[in-house]
Point group: C2
Chain length 334, copies 2
């Protein structure tokens, strides 16, 4: 693992994106999102995802010049088409759009179809909360998870993101509907470790903590078992019916062609109702009550969603982004 300065990372990725059809400003904005994700400690969806992202530009899944188009709207509710543009730029634009709608109407909602993988979902929760807004958004994905009671991958892991502003640290949840991602399962296997809790079924249908057995069965667990399975389905049907876009079952299972996704964005403008100082006090009290909870392991205090991100953000901004040397060589050769 090497450390690359934040600014150098952005510069390198920006140049590559420009060579691959991005206008300079859009290249810089897109590169920034990749670098910020690694800086925030979500290594799976940051710089490490960049080579695959470039591959999806080159194979035509992602159109670097395409921008989202407003199809129709009524008051604070709109339907947009992502035009197969870059998923992270599209999602940033749509979160900005619902923030704008919520400035005018108190709340705003956009259903987006025909977009691409948004990389780290938490990005858009931080975006809303950082601007002083409540943000709620989710995406569907290819079928990558068996529903509860099923043995085939028929639902998506459909990440759900919620962000709430707070001066001393926003509360931001970024939750995929699988208990462990395939990437996490692979990592445990490579390290020769068992999962800390059951993470899926073996081919005989028994629950297991053995990552290799889950990779063999392709049956990881939904988060919360029947609960996350149901949540995945309702998020999918909501995003697809409101955007008139693809539902999970209609999306390609090939990583390089997982395109034309459907997403939802909601923003709420708390300042429109006043009471900002009281709301701040209430949020601080919730955080304090979480911190006051006696931990199972004295070395691991209980944390609120987003807290760990702030710590890693500071650390990686100071030390440079942690990047595998082989990955960095691969990126330099793009």
């Amino acid at each position: 693992m090497m450390r690359i300065p934040f600014a150098d990372t952005i510069q390198t990725l920006t140049s590559i994106l420009i060579r691959n059809g991005f206008a300079p400003e859009r290249a810089a904005a897109c590169a920034l999102l990749f670098a910020e994700t690694t800086r925030d400690g979500v290594l799976t969806h940051g710089v490490a995802r960049f080579p695959r992202f470039v591959a999806t530009i080159r194979n035509g899944s992602v159109d670097p010049a395409a921008e989202p188009v407003r199809l129709t709207g009524f008051g604070a509710l709109e339907r947009w088409d992502g035009s197969k543009g870059p998923g992270n730029l599209n999602a940033t634009a749509m979160m900005n759009r619902v923030i704008e709608l919520s400035r005018a109407h108190g709340v705003g909602c956009v259903a987006l179809r025909n977009t691409n993988h948004w990389m780290r979902g938490g990005t858009y929760g931080w975006q809303a909360a950082g601007a002083g807004f409540i943000g709620i958004c989710w995406t569907n994905t290819m079928p990558n998870l068996p529903p509860w009671g099923g043995v085939e991958r028929a639902i998506g892991n459909n990440p759900l993101v919620m962000g709430v502003p707070r001066k001393s640290g926003a509360v931001v949840l970024d939750m995929a509907m699988s208990q462990f991602s395939y990437g996490a399962i692979e990592k445990y296997r490579r390290n020769g470790e068992l999962l800390p809790v059951d993470g899926g079924f073996d081919i005989a249908g028994n629950l297991t903590r053995n990552p290799a057995e889950i990779e063999e069965s392709w049956r990881p667990l939904p988060a919360g078992l029947w609960k996350g399975s149901g949540l995945s389905i309702v998020l999918d049907v909501m995003a697809a019916t409101l955007s008139l876009g693809n539902a999970t079952h209609a999306i390609s299972r090939d990583f390089l062609h997982e395109t034309s996704l459907s997403q939802m964005f909601i923003a709420i403008n708390p300042a429109a109702l006043g009471g900002t100082e009281e709301a701040e006090r209430i949020a601080d009290e919730v955080v304090a009550s979480v911190h006051a909870c006696a931990p199972a392991d004295a070395a691991k205090p209980v944390r609120y969603p987003g807290e760990e991100t702030l710590r890693k953000r500071e650390e990686n901004a100071r030390l440079g982004l942690p990047v595998d040397e082989s990955l960095w060589q691969e990126i330099l050769a793009l």
Copy 2:
């Protein structure tokens, strides 16, 4: 278990509510919600909850005559005070209000404070979907669940509800943030059964399927472990900061004084964007894709959220509501 006709149940509960300070129309509306919950198969939150509900009227936690009051609003966003009125009537009124707001603005959002237990959360998802609207709502609760990594009950099980309209059966999720409720755990113990999967920790901190050990430790699992724990916290902070109401830590842990809760209601008007027929086709295709998934047990086909409710609704409407004889005697004596 006896069977009481739906109409008789409503009549009995209505009379009791009138004797306990409800105006006749509100008594009938409130009784209907209890009866519908049992009819829909959610026995824990229907007629079985009625004696406790009456006790909270008699001890002053619930004011039968109080109605929610609009505190402030901006466009499609409003803050209301529940005035400690009956939780199910308040929640019905607030879902109606956001439906109204979404008719005018495409989307509507209400933050409600100072309300009471809304009984079955799914009620308000069915309400929205039945009217042709997308509904999203959640409530906080008393601290009844240890957060992930903690050993004390410091977060709520904060049910989250999402409903999407579909002509041949709405998709409705009603998901509390505990994997098993205390009521479910108690039922397994009384039946001398283990839970089907790990449901909590024993006092030594080991995961267990033994219901008695979880009752002893008071450490049931959050649904999705760290995921449901985080979701509970963000739902709480969002509802409390936007309503300027109580967060979970500020709510009494005594069932009979679990009052002044905070809730959120969001409705989206899909018809405002057109494409209703295409949306219907998309929803049907999602349902078909779920049904097409090969099940682990051939006798248990994979279901979408809300599907089982429709089956039970039909069965119990036909046969009468299933009610314990001792419970019914207790109700008749109220």
